[in-house]
Symmetry: none
Subunit: 216 residues, 4 copies
DNA sequence: TATGAATGAGCCTTCATTCAT
DNA sequence: TATGAATGAAGGCTCATTCAT
């Protein structure tokens, strides 16, 4: 069961735009450096050095350092997330999940995997979210509509059947989000986090927690 | 019952260090600007203008832009948090809380209030946490020890009495943290968040959620 | 009798804008270099070196290299020329000149002196006139209206009296202009020109030529 | 009676050097762009785009951007002008012109036509004349010797006959030059100038003016 | 202590030029 | 011959920092 494949966001960026090998090296170097040191602490000299490329080469395909940032961040808000949403809607068919647990497990695993797969981009994105208000807003909106269309309808079934607490959608959304965040954030923020992360155990714990919290 | 008073962290910084009026203006301007635009996007010219001060004045008390950042961030890791922890230990006496709910409500309200009170500093801190690994590490450690010493012993009572699930401390710490985060993050990240925030309702929801999740 | 005093245009620029000594050095260096090497062939490093100033200093008062160019060129189109025009109108009172010769001599000497006084600015201006169409247009318009208001009315008297040929104003304007240009251009364009220039002789020749050409 | 045919200078350049079609496109694009934006404001990227050629192609025949400039400007000083001078000497045979008017008309029309035909090159040349002192010097020398050998002898006849004022050659040269310039300059400098230019009327006016000025 | 002009290192970007294909 | 990706040396400009007043 796929869940978005490894490094979905960035791999897609690399392949969709027909970039020469060197240009791809530039983009990759940027992702690494932006993620490590932050966008504004990364100089074009840094980029060139990391990409083993002349400084002028950085500007052959991108007209601005900012344009590179956009190229890296765009799929986060535009392309992929909506695609995932669609895929999401397809996979989650109401009757497909007899039990709330199965539904939660699917959603939780999906988002957790997403966080693991896109650690670097998420870091770059999160940093910029402090400066550009629209970024976060856009992603949250997309995420929310993704939940509303693909996920909540399924939940409402369980609520209707009395198998789940009757909280408002926002509250449910927030709880799932924050619980997943509790496991994903350390991995995203701390280098050590990724190494010691146990995907199975984490998923199990999150699902168990949510099941209890959501119990009728 | 206060728990850390309004803007504890920054007000303390301002008062503890005997700064002239202009220097205080500099510090305040920095907090605002760093929080709004980010540390690296804030020029000393910006600071001087916002503080209504000459550019040289910025360097009268602080030798470096970075030193100002440190001055703003230091209480976050060093001074205040441990103090709070101590105060915490005092206030939370095991038998003081007959019910788990009272204990949770206290802790949740405290951290929620902290987030509200220190929105700006938290933003500056969070941004820098991406770049300086030690920052987050330090705070988490402090927070953890605060929990371990002041809070967990109390919890263990309830666990011993069979009134609370027997999860590991880390898991409990993580769940409380992330659940609070779910309500605090929007307020910290989005300008609109603070305006519409309902402290009572939020506390109630968080506590209710945790009680269910922690039920034996 | 003054006619615009030495280096009117640039001296005015220097005095009107309250610039520090170093900033004045920057402006002067720019005028020299732009005049010698051309605007686009002059680097900010060149400017700094010539002005014996740090490169950053160049940008303390002017936000752009282009802004310096504008500062140097503006008086050419805006300020001074109209002022001169006014002064012109005052000095040339129809009955003040009994003879056409006196009138021509005044105008010719004035423009010739202007060219000598502002050699550097004129060079910078002329170079830019190739690239910015509006520059030349503006100056010509100003010059033309200056002629129309201050000078032509006087000429018309002589035409009315039958002491001067009845050509259209444009043709008269053009002939005076080009004849003066014939003497001014070498001075402006060639370094040697200024040294060997004989103001009296030139004025005499121009006036004599014009008198013959304008004879009824 | 030809006088130098349309775009003599540049057409000659194009044909004399056996350039491939693309190289000719490069040269033509350069002339256009140098004339419009100036040499230093024209990038090799601009040239390549205008010539519909790859950027490398620009360097297939010319080793330097400067070399292209030279290729465009050279005929102005070297090749053509002397040729014209020779042709000039041939055509102007002292006794061919009974009247001074015919002689002046020939010369004036010739130079006026030259200006019209070579507007673009003249613009490029004039711009560079500010930066490279030798350029103007060379052309003036050539022009002068052209006048001295082909034209002045004829004039001297009229002077000898008492039909023309006895001014020095330089003064005559200067007056003819500047008078023609008065009509040519607007055409060369302003885009609108060429459209509204009336060759016949201009020639007539210039000749009439010169005849009066030169009258004994 | 406060000022603000001055500094110069370093940043982002452009562009003439080269070279493998 | 033509291409266009790649180069790297400037160039214009910013900005943290200093210092004479």
């Amino acid at each position: 069961m796929s869940v978005n494949t490894i490094s979905t966001l960035f791999t897609a960026t690399l392949q969709n735009s027909e970039l020469s090998e060197k240009q791809q090296a530039v983009l990759t170097a940027c992702l690494e450096l932006f993620s490590e040191k932050g966008f504004e602490n990364t100089s074009t000299a840094d980029i060139a050095k990391r990409a083993r490329v002349a400084e002028g080469t950085v500007y052959k395909h991108f007209r601005t350092k900012e344009e590179i940032l956009t190229a890296i961040l765009k799929p986060m808000t535009d392309t992929v997330v909506p695609e995932v949403a669609a895929e999401f809607v397809d996979q989650i068919k109401p009757d497909q999940f007899d039990h709330l647990e199965a539904l939660l497990r699917f959603v939780v695993a999906d988002r957790l995997q997403f966080a693991l797969d896109n650690r670097a981009i998420i870091r770059v994105f999160a940093q910029q979210a402090f400066v550009r208000q629209d970024l976060l807003q856009n992603v949250l909106t997309t995420l929310h509509s993704q939940f509303s269309h693909g996920f909540l309808p399924a939940l409402h079934q369980f609520q209707a059947r009395g198998e789940m607490v009757n909280w408002e959608d926002t509250r449910i959304f927030r709880l799932i989000g924050s619980t997943v965040l509790g496991y994903a954030l350390p991995v995203v923020m701390m280098p050590a986090g990724a190494a010691t992360f146990d995907f199975e155990k984490s998923t199990d714990e999150i699902v168990e927690t949510l099941l209890k919290a959501f119990s009728a």
